[in-house]
Point group: C2
């Protein structure tokens, strides 16, 4: 304990000095490389300890982040300050885009078609049920707030953050099982549905604030755009991608296969973002579309397989995302008791609501419990919803105040942290019953 507090004091005295010592090359030069070294080391140590305890590495990375961020309670504020660093945030965002691209690469469009309708029914149930439950929780526990607050509170529970589940499934070698494709497919559809709900609820709130009514036409247009994007990307992308790789295979230069694939991924991510969806939706679609046959022209150039080329980039950037997500957890928010009831109710609504997904997993031979559990994490999407809510007002009433915001953050945190061990437990349970199978396609 003496050793620990001594180490913390030493750290506290060293870090700001190191960060400020690089006047000649700009402060962030030193801060950035030091932060990357510490974050990557913490990620690998946390991941190792988690795996030693039989848990997925991602849980260790998240908790390593919570620990680093929580050092501010011991006076080391350096890591807390890093959570607002724009460069680290950018690296983390690229990391999650690359992760979804990599996960998408492991499946093909025809794999997805096999689970398409199941994923759609799973997603629909997994969006509507938590929304209604969250709405009800708001109406019961926040009667003093307007109905828009209740609708919005429900909406923060809708979108599944596929990053955590994708990572757990990949860590456990299940990224290509039928359950994985249903979960990931449903999470993508979820994200689309959640963002459509956000767009619609946001428009409703703005219209209510201006005392105008919203046309059904503009609501319909939002929905059409989102659904059209996915089908359009999968259809058009599958036709454009072979042409693109055929062209770039003729260029001179190095790393052309990797860079062409990254450009394709980033373009689809940007296209998704341009119509108001999450960039990761586009990245996942890009991964689904790309197949070996598209870049066979590169086979003779001595370049590695695309999966092998993307792995070092995700090995570098993905841990940054998860450690940073952990670091953003403010342990002080857990100490605020005034919203404990709402917090507990919201967590229950978030977890129970997604179990409705299991009902959508039609047909036998599927691990329905794991599907429901895999849909639990809200992650960054829930946080984005909450932060948008902070900026919305109806007749001078803030839709999401600081208390509700903290509550949503804790809900996101709990759903994120319970999922890896719960999913691992449920997948092991399924395996022990002898009904599981790796690699469904």
């Amino acid at each position: 304990m003496v050793l620990l507090s001594g180490a913390v004091r030493l750290l506290s005295s060293l870090l700001p000095a190191q960060a400020a010592g690089s006047a000649a090359h700009g402060d962030s030069g030193a801060t950035l490389v030091l932060a990357l070294a510490v974050i990557l080391a913490a990620a690998k140590l946390g991941g190792h300890l988690a795996e030693r305890l039989g848990q997925p590495a991602v849980l260790g990375e998240l908790l390593a982040g919570v620990l680093l961020g929580g050092l501010d309670l011991a006076g080391v504020v350096w890591f807390r300050a890093l959570t607002t660093d724009l460069t680290l945030d950018g690296l983390a965002r690229i990391g999650v885009v690359i992760l979804l691209f990599e996960v998408g690469l492991e499946s093909t469009v025809s794999d997805m078609k096999k689970v398409g309708w199941r994923a759609f029914s799973v997603a629909t149930l997994g969006v509507v049920t938590p929304w209604l439950l969250g709405w009800g929780v708001g109406a019961l526990l926040l009667p003093q707030h307007s109905v828009y607050v209740h609708i919005f509170l429900g909406a923060t529970l809708t979108a599944t953050s596929v990053g955590i589940t994708a990572r757990v499934l990949r860590d456990l070698g299940r990224a290509n099982s039928a359950e994985a494709r249903i979960i990931l497919g449903a999470a993508v559809i979820d994200d689309v549905m959640g963002l459509v709900i956000l767009a619609v609820v946001g428009s409703l709130i703005q219209a209510a604030d201006l005392n105008v009514s919203l046309s059904f036409l503009s609501i319909g247009w939002l929905v059409v755009k989102a659904v059209g994007f996915l089908f359009g990307a999968l259809w058009l992308g599958g036709r454009v991608s072979p042409l693109l790789f055929g062209l770039t295979a003729r260029l001179r230069g190095t790393s052309l296969l990797l860079v062409t694939a990254l450009v394709f991924c980033f373009l689809l991510a940007a296209a998704a973002a341009a119509i108001g969806l999450a960039p990761i939706v586009g990245a996942y679609a890009a991964g689904l579309i790309l197949e070996k046959v598209h870049y066979r022209d590169f086979a003779g150039r001595g370049e590695h397989e695309l999966e092998e080329l993307v792995k070092p980039i995700s090995g570098f950037l993905v841990p940054i995302f998860f450690v940073l997500m952990g670091m953003r957890v403010d342990l002080r928010a857990l100490g605020d008791t005034s919203h404990l009831g709402l917090m507990a109710a919201l967590i229950v609504a978030a977890i129970v609501g997604k179990q409705a997904c299991a009902l959508g997993g039609l047909g036998g031979g599927l691990d329905k419990l794991s599907i429901g559990i895999g849909m639990i994490p809200r992650g960054e999407v829930g946080l984005i919803f909450a932060s948008i809510g902070l900026g919305l007002m109806v007749h001078g009433e803030r839709i999401v105040d600081a208390g509700i915001y903290s509550t949503v953050v804790v809900m996101v945190m709990v759903t994120t942290i319970v999922t890896p061990p719960a999913l691992k437990w449920s997948l092991d349970r399924w395996d022990r019953r002898g009904r599981g199978g790796r690699g469904g396609g």
Copy 2:
């Protein structure tokens, strides 16, 4: 021409809309992925065209950047705005750190020892001569400014930007020649010397502004710290690195070899930055230190060679650095005629001054002209010097005013752009004379 202006207008109308279209996930989410896609595509197209013309790919990447940045003259300001994006800037800075690490990996400490004294004499001549020439240019052409302005102007000419040359040498398969090691070794020593000069000149200027004299002790301490870092890092690093890899080889998890190497690289970069040197000095030292024998414990784990693992990361990040450096060139600065004389004199001083390096390449059988040319680029280090000078004052006189700043920027740009073709020409000339040899160690 009609087609081009139509395309520019289309781009102009599309880009801001796409960048602003992602309200739900934060503006920079869409901007970032779109920017990455465009920058990577431009880098590969520019690199292809340069190679088709027999030039190194890096020149094409730089000019692609100049072209994208220059689109603001046609009303497309999106790329100009990207040059101040903190995330892209961070990615570029990590890119150049990874590049120097990769270049360092291609040599060993004992390779460096063979060229050590030669590199030192090359570096010393290459620092002192341009400094004195730049000082003289300032005294002649800027007589109305104080002697501190002249000293500082000379100092902006000292540091070699090793990134460009390292890239050209690697593109041409010469990264392991004796000349390459002398140039890279000298550029690292140069950087140390340049930064020591910057620290000393900066301290002198601040002391003059406060009317106090600077102790020789504090000047000596700056020098000792810098020199001590390099020798200390090479000596200590070679002992610590096998222990570090031996430990991490026992951890559970994925990408452990890559991440351990990155942590080692970032820690040395941070240590260099902490004592006031450029992070790239630490990254290059880290690359020199790491040898296959240090991470032999990973051989049985089925991980690729370290060089193979770092390549996709540099393939992704390094082009971002060079395109961004090109984009930062403001073509309007070329239109300002008031400093044309100073500009021309400074460029001549910068280029001629570094040719003194050739005198330091003692012993026969060396391509001295290529060594002198390889030391020409000032790149980002010269820009950093100039921007620091913008903030320095003596008795109310700004050390670097807006006009001098533009002049230094153009000097940096010209030295950066002339080097790749000049170096390629001089290496080819050496080869044609039959005295060149690939792989000297």
